[in-house]
Amino acid sequence: MLVAVTECDRSCRTWMRGCDDGSSGERGVRVVVVDSRDDVEHKARTDVLRRGLGVLWVAVRHEPRIFAVSVLGSALFGGLTVAGAYVIGAVTGRVVVPALDSGQTTAGALAAAAAVLLGVALLRVLGILGRRLGAGGMQFRLQARYRREVTRRYLDLPLSWHHRHPTGSLLSNANADVEATWFPIAPFPFAVGTVVMLIVATGALVATDWVLALVGLAVFPAVFAVNVAYSRRMSPRMTRAQQLRAEVSTLAHESFDGALVVKTLGREAHETARFGAKAVELRDALVAVGRVRGLFDPAMDALPQLGTLAVLVVGAFRLRAGAVEVADVVSVAFLFTVLAFPIRAIGWVLGELPRSVVGWDRVQGVLTATGSMPYGDAPAPERTGPAALELANVAFTYGETPVLRDVTFDVAAGRTVALVGPTGAGKSTVTTLVARLVDPAYGEVRLDGRDVRELRRGALADGVALVPQTTFVFDDTVRGNVALGVDVPDDRVWEALGLAQADRFVRALPEGLDTMVGERGASLSGGQRQRLALARALVRRPRLLVLDDATSAVDPAVEQAILAGLRASAQGTTVLVVAYRRATIALADEVVFLDRGRVVGRGTHAELLSRVPGYTRLVTAYEEAERDRERDRAAELADEALA
């Protein structure tokens, strides 16, 4: 059994998360649908054996050839283990006993005995190589195959599905759960080989003497019974321990994620208590597992040994009856001794089945997840130049919470529209609808008059670039992050970086465009990351550019430079920009004012200012505040003067 060295062992379920995250959702209760624990536990308890064997069968179907190799190796090994016992018996009976009884032997007889013993050892090595390399190869191939399938599914499933599943559990589905599923594969061929071996052994026993065979026939089923009882008892305990491992990991992850909050509010002791309580729960669960295992192991040791003793007693009777010879008894006794170890392989497989089944269920949860985002077959429009955008009666709901209601507006080709509204109004949701990260519950989003759902995969991304509010930086070079799969020359990358006001700091990086950024690369400030994300959008020369408060971490002077650059270069682009600042709004030909998920007003800035009080409150807030302050100050001065 090889347990691979991993930073994150199979038991560590929830995994690292990227440094920043891109899944910013506007308001809405996320319904977290983790597979219901009770359900999983129930399933695991009822027929874990049958279901576990089903999973093993899947493995065999996927990798029949390599499985055949490893089972052959294992059977060879098993057969030779039995044969080895008989060889020892035969050597004792034909060479040792005669030699010692008669007081002489021949070199030939001794050499033959040695050669046979060595030959058996070499063949056993062959068996081991086949079995272990085959089993490992099979296990690793299955892991790789399912990791590919699971991650492929992640890429195919719509963002709304992602929203419903915690990041941690998605990471563990692709990693720990896949690993757990195929864990029993490592000892599986050994176990199958052992079964073959037991059959051979039984055959050999029967051939030797039917009465001695009865001992085997009593011991072998007992071994199976103990194994089955073990896996039944173990299953719920294992499931619980696994669940608690996940909880400990999730808790640690969240707590370390929020380390700054923990630190600044001095809540270390509270967090430690929270973690400690979970760690103790996990400890109790693991001790419960240990108690069962602690009983199983000695029992599995003792059974074949008791068998050996039984052989001696029965053998003595048979010897007296003249049915067998001393050599037969020795062989059979030896056979039971060597069987002790391989028989445990069966226990290893059965013992791992509960965990495997839980892992399989979780992996299947991803593979069979429905709710795909179907694409149409319309190609990207032939047209170049700016795109026209329309939202018609769009409604959107997060869980049960309506976020957008009957949103209708359009952005004519080449125009710039600012989307303005209070915090939590649904602006970010509009941008995700336009980039088709999610689909509306009702209504249509149209690009150049065509419902975006009719476009084929990739066609929308060819023309539309979204810069989200929170930026995601890939573990890649600056060039890789900006170009992101598009084949563009470096001068285009520099041009985009220049427009995003990012060229200066990129030039200052140790290796310029080749500097690694992202979690393990150079650390960038929030403003720098935003500018990189902006360059990523601009380098594509999109036909529709969607900016979701994409300069919030950039200071005013730099933002102004970015906006000036955009104004000069964005003539070929339609722009939808979420904005608070007047300068950004001033870029726009028109403003759409969104409040609590509805379009409350639309028109030029001046029109809205005169017509929509909410809009006026929002955009003149700073001036109002200043006026208030001046009024207060004047009053204070007046008071002082009076005094």
Binding site: V3, M16, A252, F256, L260, L286, L309, T423, P556, L618
Partner: protein, 599 residues
């Protein structure tokens, strides 16, 4: 391990020997030794039981089966009953040993887990950030699991195996010293082979570890970066990267397996050699009258008893590489001294009442970086509201971090009401000084629970009242379940601006004497921001407030503005005054006005 970048880095400790790690590990987790004597005694009994069967076979063959008058049933019955009784005793001791071992080790490791968890929180912010989040998590999860696997499976198996080898050797010696010598000569080459393969194996495991890191990175990217991947249609690129890291991981796993299997195979061949040798030499010895048939047969069984633990030991030693590596990583965390330590008992409490701030010739640089703050020397009287402004990268956020002692200055000192910050007990500091960071991190709980994080004893009514006082009652009412609305993982069910609102409420209920706001409202709409600011102004009157902002609305409302440029304080004074001066502030403000006002 003083440089933050190496905290818990497995390679940083590599020179440390396996044995030293083991000893240090036991030192740090003394609970592992609890009841060790009893456990070892039980292990000894369990091991002793293993030689019962070979001896019983030998005795039975020599005296029972091959007795002068045919098989002696009475004698055999005696032998077998004694052996069976010992076997049962062995099994019972093994069970008792296992249970003790599991209980002791799991208890010890739960403590170690919790200790390491606390230690991660005690590390400075810089330390924490220099680590990948995931690797910190594995310090308290999988790395500890690896230790437990070693302690429960490997460690004991190694001990038992060693005991078995010793015992087998002793009995083998009793039967025949010549044959024993022969067996040892056969096994000698194995020792060298094992050493060689283990070195190769360690390298192979290193590759596996590295590639699993890449794999996890690629998976995390595909999950966390999902929106960008979709928005930019780069599914194929991502899939390619995933496939290649999955495949590279697989080949590394297989390469490591090869070495482990090779070691085992060598052992198997050696065992074959030993068996053959024993038969040949044994017969010759027997002819010489030095050995009976029973003794030779027993010896052959003993060789099997000898081979098995040796084989197991090589496997365990291979596995031990993992366990020890895990242990080393956990110790790496525990041995990292927090570079911003809590003075604890020796420290002082902050004096009661409003707090004043003093920076005394403060310099600061990130490890290996240029100076971010240079010679900052300033006083902020108690009860003033100060805004720190400056361009991106000017060093203004550093103020907040120094003031809340997330970091210590490289030179100079920060004092609160005259007390050097390094001398202030964390219990006092964290109660009196609260910072709201820009990233409004929320825990996966309800809005109310998150606010209670600032103060645990608040009722739901108190929390609603707090929101009302902050002018956010409308917003709270608009949530589907009010204060009971779950915020989701990291607060992601709320918009970025909404998360900031909750973070401010959380700090507000903590009722600090010094409130530090680091771009705390950067994603909130202007109207809400102004409302919030006004509320905070009246509510925090009487305390000291330091706000870092690039929205200059904050500066306009402050009593005083501090302008930072390239790590130095370049201007300071009330907004109205600075605005009139010809300086960086006037320019910053002009571009701000330009952006926010109608012309």
């Amino acid at each position: 391990m003083s440089a933050p970048t190496t905290a818990g880095d497995p390679t940083a400790n590599e020179p440390e020997t396996t044995w030293r790690t083991f000893v240090r590990g036991i030192q740090l987790t003394p609970e592992l030794r609890a009841g060790l004597g009893g456990t070892l005694l039980l292990a000894l009994l369990a091991t002793a039981g293993r030689v019962v069967v070979p001896i019983a076979v030998q005795q039975t063959v020599d005296h029972g089966l091959r007795g002068a008058h045919g098989p002696d049933l009475g004698l055999i019955a005696t032998f077998v009953s004694i052996a069976a009784a010992i076997l049962v005793g062995t099994a019972v001791s093994a069970f008792a040993m296992n249970v003790r071992l599991f209980r002791t080790s799991e208890t010890a490791l739960a403590t170690l887990r919790t200790k390491a968890f606390r230690h991660v929180h005690d590390l400075s912010m810089l330390h924490q950030q220099s680590e990948r989040r995931g690797s910190l998590v594995s310090r308290v999860t999988s790395d500890v699991d690896q230790i437990s696997q070693f302690v429960q499976w490997g460690g004991v198996l190694l001990l038992v195996s060693l005991g078995q080898v010793l015992l087998a050797t002793v009995i083998m010696l009793v039967y025949s010293w010549q044959l024993t010598l022969l067996v040892y000569v056969c096994f000698l080459p194995l020792v060298f082979a094992v050493r060689y393969f283990q070195r190769r194996l360690a390298v192979a495991y290193g590759t596996v570890r590295e590639r699993v890191g890449d794999l996890l990175g690629a998976i995390a990217e595909s999950v966390v970066g999902a929106p960008v991947i979709r928005a930019y249609g780069v599914t194929d690129r991502t899939a390619r990267r995933l496939d290649s890291s999955i495949e590279r991981y697989r080949t590394a796993q297989f390469a490591a397996l090869r070495f482990s299997v090779l070691t085992f195979s060598v052992g198997e061949i050696v065992a074959g050699l030993a068996n053959a040798g024993v038969v040949v030499v044994g017969v010759l010895l027997g002819l010489d009258g030095q050995l009976t048939v029973g003794e030779l047969t027993g010896f052959l069984l003993l060789v099997a008893l000898f081979v098995q633990p040796v084989q197991i030991s090589t496997e365990v030693l291979n596995e031990a590489q993992n366990a020890i590596a895990g242990w080393r990583r956990v110790l790496g965390v525990l041995d990292t001294r927090p570079d911003v330590p809590d003075p604890g008992e020796r420290g002082r409490d902050l004096p009661a009442g409003p707090l004043s701030v003093r920076f005394e010739h403060v310099h600061f640089a990130y490890p290996g970086g240029p100076e971010v703050l240079a010679d900052v020397d300033l006083d902020i009287p108690a009860q003033t509201r100060v805004a720190v402004v400056g361009e991106t990268g000017s060093g203004k956020t550093t103020f907040a971090k120094l003031l809340t002692r997330l970091m210590d200055p490289a030179r100079g000192e920060v004092l609160l009401s005259g007390v050097p910050l390094r001398d202030v007990r964390f219990s006092s500091l964290r109660r009196r000084v609260v910072m709201v960071p820009q990233d409004g991190f929320l825990f996966d709980a309800t809005v109310a629970d998150n606010v209670r994080y600032g103060r645990a004893d608040l009722s739901d009514e108190d929390i609603e009242l707090a929101f009302t006082e902050l002018g956010l009652a409308d917003w709270l009412d608009g949530l589907p379940h009010g204060a009971a609305t779950p915020v989701g993982e990291r607060g992601e069910s709320l918009s970025v601006g909404e998360r900031q609102l909750v973070a401010i409420a959380r700090a507000y209920v903590a009722d600090p004497d010094l409130l530090v706001l680091d771009e705390a409202t950067s994603a909130v709409d202007p109207a809400t921001e102004v409302r919030l600011q006004r509320a905070l102004d009246s509510l925090t009157r009487g305390r000291t407030t330091l706000a870092i902002a690039h929205r200059l609305s904050t500066a306009e409302a402050a009593d005083e503005v501090i302008v930072v440029d390239a790590g130095r304080v370049v201007q300071r004074g009330p907004h109205a005054e600075l605005r009139r001066q010809d300086g960086p502030y006037a320019r910053l403000h002009a571009s701000w006005v330009n952006q926010t006002r109608s012309d």
